[in-house]
Amino acid sequence: MKDFDLESLSREMPYRMPEHFLDDMTERVVAQIGKQRKHRVERRIVALFASAASVAAVALLFLHPFGGGFDIPDYESISQCASVDEVLQNMTADELGVYSMMSNYYGN
């Protein structure tokens, strides 16, 4: 039976690789990786904002009036405020002038 020496054959391929194929491929791959990295960074930023928003939401819950966090002035503290007449009495002549001008302007 005939034999055939495989080792005697050339290792060449019967096909061709298009010119500049590998250079073009390198640029395409690098561009695609760049896009994926950008998306990854964007996703991280979105995740960061989402986490920050969650923290802010939780903090707001603690500060909510029903959560007891808001400092609402009670009736006593409002009644302790100076009356308008008292303020007017303590104003200088210039301040009174401005006050009367503003009152006329707003129809008060």
Binding site: K2, D3, F4, L6, L9, S10, R11, E12, M13, P14, Y15, R16, M17, P18, F21, L22, M25, T26, R28, V29, V30, Q32, I33, G34, Q36, R37
Partner: protein, 188 residues
Amino acid sequence: MNSQGSLSVSDESIARLLCDDNHVEEAVRLIMKKYGEPLYWHIRRMVVAHDDAEDCLQETMINVYKYRSTYSNEYPLSSWLYKIATNESLKLLKNRSGFTMSVDDLGDSLKDSVREEASPDADETLILLQEAIALLPAKQKMVFNLRYYDDKSYEEIHQIVGDSVNTLKTNYHYAVQKIKDYILEHQL
């Protein structure tokens, strides 16, 4: 085909750059420069058509980027790259074969592609050799190509394909026998 150019950057340096987010693109360029050509031919010998080899090589490089954290320097970088390229080639062939056929059933259609893809001035014996390789079962084809064209040792082929060295030797032996028979049968 096995030329890795005159690039002297070591695989260790490339692997280090690959794991560094700031240098990953540089690493990919170096891999393409050093291994782009052998990987392309390894894939092309599996899938035959240039367009398919192009898709597979691109996917291979994207996977190199995506899964770079899984690379372990216990194995040579080249084995890891060949493994990814081999898996991409098999994936493409699996998609081509569909649910009803296995990759090994694609032999005849791959064999027909060999002649379509061959250069007009290609040596007839080289075309016959590629036809014979196209008809081999996928495992035998991988082992034969890695040993015959890429001069890989059985240990390296084991790192890429995963089978034991003895199984690989058996696969190679059967592949050589089938190729010889095919060429003797078809040679004018």
